[in-house]
Amino acid sequence: MALDRLNESVPQPALSAKEAPKAPVWADPFWRGLAAQVAVVLGLLVFIWYIVENTRENLARLHIASGFNFVNNTAGFDVGFALIPYSATSTYGDALLVGFLNTLLVAGLGIVFATVIGFVMGILRLSNNWLVAKLATVYVETLRNIPLLLQLLFWYTAVLSPLPRPANSLTLFDVIFLNNRGLTLPKPVLGEGAGIPILVALVLGIIAAWALGRWAKTRLERTGRPFPSVIVGACLVVGLPILAFLVQGAPLTFEYAEETRFALRGGVNVVPELVALLLGLSLYTAAFIAEIVRSGILAVSKGQWEASEALGLERGPTLRLVVIPQAMRVIIPPLTSQYLNLTKNSSLAVAIAYPDLVAIGGTVLNQTGQAIEIVLVWMVVYVTLSLTTSLLMNWYNARKALVER
């Protein structure tokens, strides 16, 4: 397995073919490398063949038909929380789809919450205020060093389960209710047919903001006069839909939950499993993001702060124009891996019975015995999610990266 190609960049001694001493075949790095590779590949093939053969025999013995035909069979189990219509008569395929959507939901929401909490905590750790900085440190050091699974079980079993029954919910102004059946929020109800103009206005706003951004950038490059394109663009994106909404006479009502004798009626109910999972995932990942943000800001050298102070920039513009853009370069790669971790960690949902892909897959696996197919589905879904997130973040990173000569 000797490999003497480490010296690629070193100029090779100028020996002509005749003068070069001929190494015996077994000492020639090329042939040795080839032999090693052939051996590894052959070994691997034999190993795979062995596994496949065994699996085939075992499956035949257990009378399990391999293949994906089972997805059309009726599942026969109910799911506690589904984004699409689902009942016990739906198929295994539907069940897996429900799980996949639930995973996406929890990962997406978790990423948003974790990012916000993480950035706030990371900045607070660098605060001039001694007390606040210490509190943020205690937060980070506590949550980072306790297993996520334990935190999830704690939120679910020790915090949310002992909450009062729906009839005696904890409530905030009779708008938001919290009880052992989860969190109930007011449900926004849009007037009939009011959605389309608002959507059109939103699209128009985005296009206008994009065009404005390009125009402002060109003008800045040509004349040096800046234009507050971000603020105006944001006003366009938010303002146009609001305008469309107001023009139609504000056709939005909220359906508040009502307390009846035994339960809450109406509103949007977020099941306690989802609340616990989101709490646990966001708070845990936020502790890691806080550390990443802190080290990213600390990585910007002091000279940059001093230089922008010397240019007469105040603290706000210094942060916004000088420090944060440079800190983002350091922050983005580890932030990406935290997002991936959060997505993968959402599979711990199985421990608190939130029906995500792994939990539902596990149930299907137990019912049908299709171990290989289910594991394959898991792998494909998670690897695809990981790769997509990586690609998006790499694209963003490439845009923000330092352009060097």
């Binding site: 590779q37 060093n145 199985v350 690897v383 990981s386």
Partner: protein, 372 residues
């Protein structure tokens, strides 16, 4: 002429005045760190209010109104924490279902390990590396015999009875000791110039890192039996250990690769110029430097692994967390979830925090100033 004019220039320096009261001592510190501006003052007040709301109730619950002695649920008055629960089940939390009469074997293994590790911390002791490698080979055998028994007159204790903190430490220990060498091999393979070997390593690393640990554990517990010929069966713990080790090796490989990439090319070239072959240049020149750089990363991975051992709960092994979880459903001690989880959290926290502090200490100690 000059002699007659009285001069008003001071010939001796006066004592300098002390700084204003508001700038020094406790007051100055408070002003600088807590009340430097209006915004800061508001933040401080909010933080103080938060502390006031959170800390006294927690202290009150955990200590002042807590019950510390008693034999069952009835001895707790419900005003604070019920610690007799932890006390009563402490043995099970630590040893799981390991037979009570045989628990000394676990203790003995810990004592042997601690004694054997003493030379590693003696600055005088010269051959630390050789000693540590020897220990890594010998100790697992000793521990295996002690834990499982069946030899030397020790009674046999099957692995299904292993549990508690003991099992957590076994899983973490096996994961840590196997993941490092495997990770180094994978990292070297990924950096190899041989395309076939590189491909195999890249696919393995990315596939394993792309999926959650739970699916790997599920795979190890459900699919491994399918992969083996009929009649050959592994122990459940062993299957979990295989999955756990492979998973951690993939993560370790990426950490080690970071170190390998940080070594300047000149080191590789110098090793080649000395006439060292691949293994010698790696073993003697590159790896010692690369591993030293990534010690913080390696310890961080260890901390992650230690926390991840709790996931074996999902495939039904009774590790520390699962033992605590099982204790919560004891009819004598019903409704003590918070006590159980707080105790478990405290134990995990102490282990992880100690490891992270040790890694910071190592980082400072090994920093030979090569950083630019």
């Amino acid at each position: 002429m000059a002699t007659n004019i009285p001069h008003y220039v001071r010939s001796q320096s006066t004592e300098s005045l002390p700084p204003p009261v508001a700038e020094r001592g406790v007051v100055g510190w408070l002003k600088r760190n807590l009340f430097s501006s209006i915004g800061n003052t508001i933040l401080t007040l909010i933080a103080l209010w938060l502390l006031w709301e959170i800390v006294p109730p927690i202290l009150n619950w955990a200590f002042f109104s807590a019950t510390f002695t008693g034999t069952d649920r009835a001895s707790c008055d419900g005003a604070g924490a019920c610690w007799p629960f932890v006390n009563a089940r402490f043995g099970q939390f630590v040893y799981g279902f390991y037979p009570v009469s045989q628990r000394w074997r676990v203790d003995a293994a810990v004592v042997v390990l601690l004694l054997a590790m003493v030379p590693l911390f003696l600055p005088r002791f010269e051959r630390k590396l050789a000693y540590a490698l020897g220990l890594l080979v010998v100790y697992p055998i000793v521990a295996y015999v002690l834990f499982l028994g069946g030899k030397f007159g020790l009674s046999h204790v099957e692995t299904s009875r292993w549990g508690g903190l003991f099992l957590t430490l076994v899983i973490a220990g096996v994961g840590i000791t196997t993941s490092l060498p495997l990770g180094v091999v994978l990292a070297l393979g990924r950096r190899s110039t041989m395309p076939a070997i590189r491909m195999v390593c890249v696919v393995f690393i990315e596939l394993v890192r792309g999926v959650p640990l739970i699916t790997v554990l599920f795979m190890a517990s459900v699919m491994l039996p399918l992969f083996l010929p009929e009649g050959v069966n592994f122990d459940k713990l062993l299957r979990a250990l295989v999955g756990f080790s492979l998973f951690s090796a993939a993560y370790m490989a990426e950490v080690v690769r970071g170190g390998l990439q940080a070594i300047p090319k000149g080191q590789y070239e110098a090793a080649a110029a000395l006439g060292l072959g691949y293994w010698k240049s790696m073993g003697l020149i590159i790896l010692p430097q690369a591993l030293k750089i990534v010690i913080p990363g390696i310890v961080n991975t260890f901390i992650g692994l230690f926390k991840d051992t709790s996931l074996v709960l999902i495939i039904g092994l009774f590790d520390f967390l699962n033992t605590v979880q099982a204790g919560l459903s004891d009819p004598n001690w019903i409704g003590l979830a918070i006590e159980g989880y707080v105790f478990a959290a405290a134990v995990y926290w102490v282990f992880c925090f100690a490891m992270s502090r040790y890694s910071q200490h190592l980082e400072r100690k090994l920093d030979t100033g090569h950083k630019r």
